[in-house]
Amino acid sequence: MSRPENLPDFSSPPLDELVMGVQFVPLAGYTVVAAQDIWNLFRDEFPGLEQQPPIPPQFEAFGGWSPQPSFSFQFNVQLPSPRLWFVSEDGNHLIQFQHDRLMLNWRRINGEGIYPRFENIVERFASHLVKLGDQIQSAFGQKLEISQSEVSYINVIRVESYAEVGRWIEGAGALYGDSEIIASNSAKVLHRGGDTMARMHNELHSAMSGDMSHKAIRMALTVRGKPQTSEITSAIEFIRFGREAIVNEFAALTTKYAHEAWGRK
């Protein structure tokens, strides 16, 4: 599928990482022993293996009086099912797998890496999901039932001082002035055709390079929600919807100066 027409396009956006993922009904009887077979599905392309703490379940819900809280519900004890990273040779791509999630990340390593573009990444993710679906049907007798989809664009804008934030983000100069620290979280509900579709989260933060020598502004836009059905095609369709919403929002939130710097087409 080709890029939607009229979607803002940049020749060199400040994109540092792109994540797309699904959350599904947990695999009954899954233990880490089964992880080997899962890794084998992707190992040719992702020969590296790392282990991370699991991500707790996340659900976007709507209605009610409380705004979506910064709220987490976690297991105290380590689940027997860690989050596994299957990493590509160059380190720029990785698959994240745990008993109830599959995600695909593209990321720059030390600021390096050519962005392969969303269309390529989402096609690969769709094929990964099909492979996973076949495997869990075979190994667990269970259908892959997707309950949540998400896509995140994490942008990093290098700056000399955080006071430059207004140069890149519309209205941020007035809000943050010459703040030493920037920390902002906001969210809004997305609709399509009158239906509630998803929630978009916007996180804007000051950032530092690992060696603390360079400053940056980090803007992460995430769209998350329940796809129309539990099928893979529906999850992919949701991710495409989320991507369009993010790119449009990113273009609206950033300045003309920024667009010129990033080569807006």
Binding site: P53, I55, P57, S66, Q68, F73, N76, N110, V156, H205
Partner: protein
């Protein structure tokens, strides 16, 4: 926790202040299975109950029951947080035999029961003790109706005042 592979990014978020709203609740004991980083008094009040029902032993009901699934509990916790209303006491949480759970209130002459079978598969019912009306609906991710039901429930009912019924 983010799905971003932040650990290897060239840039780390820089703000030394904990950006989570609400109070960090320490683990209540070494054997607590769940931790709720809560924004509302409901969630704080229900943390130990959530811990208890996700820790039930198999066969806890005398038959083939299992503990409440963590996924179900996490979704319920999210819903509870979403519906929080300072004028309404926290709900009761009742485990099902099959890993599901029910959230319920019985007050101001309304019985509201929210049966959570799995994330996004919810059956909610309301019984009006005054009129005898019973409503049952299936819900997915939009809980506007539940919020309205709670709003109806929190107000002292004028029809009860005239009937002299107990209002709490």
């Amino acid at each position: 926790m983010s799905a971003a592979a932040q650990q290897n990014s060239a840039y780390q978020r820089y703000f030394p202040v904990d950006d989570r709203r609400g109070e960090v609740v320490p683990f209540t004991s070494a054997t607590s299975r769940v931790r709720v980083t809560a924004a509302s008094p409901w969630s704080k009040a229900l943390e130990s109950r959530l811990n208890a029902i996700t820790s039930l032993p198999k066969g806890w009901n005398g038959y083939r029951s299992v503990p409440v699934s963590f996924t179900c509990a996490a979704f319920a916790a999210q819903l509870i947080e979403r519906l929080y209303d300072a004028s309404v006491p926290p709900p009761a949480l009742v485990p099902g035999a099959d890993g599901t759970l029910q959230i319920e209130w019985h007050r101001n002459q309304y019985d509201i029961e929210v049966d959570i079978l799995e994330p996004y598969k919810v059956f909610a019912s309301r019984y009006d003790c005054v009129s005898g009306d019973f409503t049952e609906i299936a819900l997915s991710d939009d809980f506007t109706v539940l919020a309205e039901w709670l709003k109806d429930m929190k107000s002292a009912r004028a029809d009860l005042a005239t009937a002299g019924a107990a209002v709490v």
